[in-house]
Each structure stands twice: as structure tokens, then as C-alpha cells.
Subunit: 77 residues, 2 copies
């Protein structure tokens, strides 16, 4: 089974990487860009029987810094 | 409107960051982890009228290195 974890900086936390991407896109003529935030996607190949609680524990302990980042877990099956 | 772009290394391209995460998770006792791949998520705030073709162009020109990375665009509204 697979799970997809998306980790993003929380709202209000400055995202210089996203700002840099926004500036670059505007500089290339993509005028419609109003905001950019950049985060991480982690896809996990998991043994059968691994639960969403296990994946949440991985996020809390390693994958996300929950002080400044939020995460979402999507169990693909 | 918003768009979410997910950029992952193509299958077959070595992903040392994912391997490092896998090793760390196994070392922490998460025995069910069989594979990890890490990529980028970019959320874009866009002016109304921006099309998926525009976002695809952003990916081709800046957001993804299409030699080694694949991307997926999800137009949220």
C-alpha cells in the first residue's frame, strides 16, 4: 500500500523559497501569479497493515516540524 | 483561484533524500516502510482566467526539471 504525505509551512510562517519562485515567475512574464508557497511531498511504500495512525506518528516524529509545518496524510490503499 | 503542482523525481532516478528518510524511519522502528520518494509541492494563488496551460508552461520553464522530474497540476477551482 501507499501513502502520500504533504508537508507545508503553516499560514503566517514566512516562506522565502515560495517568494523566490513567485519573483521568478513574475519576471518570466506570468503576470497572473499572486502568491506561491512551497512544501514537500513524501510518498511512502508501506507494508500491508500499516495504519494512518502509524503514518501520523512518522509525521509527528520525523517528516514534519510541527512547530512551523502542517501535514496532510492521504492513504492511497 | 488556486493550483497545486506536485513535482517528483521520475521513476529510475536515484532519490538520496528519500533513501535517507527511509533509513531514518526504519531506524526509529517503523518497520513497515518499504520505500520513500520525496518531491516538491507548490501551491499557486492565481488571477482568475489563468488556465491549466499557463500552469503547465510554468512547470516546463521553471518549476520542474523535466529531464529528471515529472509534474502533476491540480487546478483547485
Amino acid at each position: 500500500m501507499k501513502a502520500t504525505v504533504t508537508v507545508m509551512l503553516k499560514t503566517g510562517v514566512l516562506d522565502p523559497q515560495g517568494e523566490a519562485v513567485k519573483s521568478a515567475l513574475l519576471g518570466m512574464g506570468f503576470d497572473g501569479v499572486q502568491g506561491v508557497r512551497q512544501g514537500k511531498t513524501i510518498t511512502l511504500d508501506l507494508a500491508d497493515g500499516t495504519t494512518q495512525d502509524d503514518v501520523n506518528a512518522m509525521c509527528e516524529k520525523l517528516l514534519a516540524n510541527t512547530v512551523i509545518e502542517s501535514y496532510a496524510v492521504d492513504m492511497d490503499t
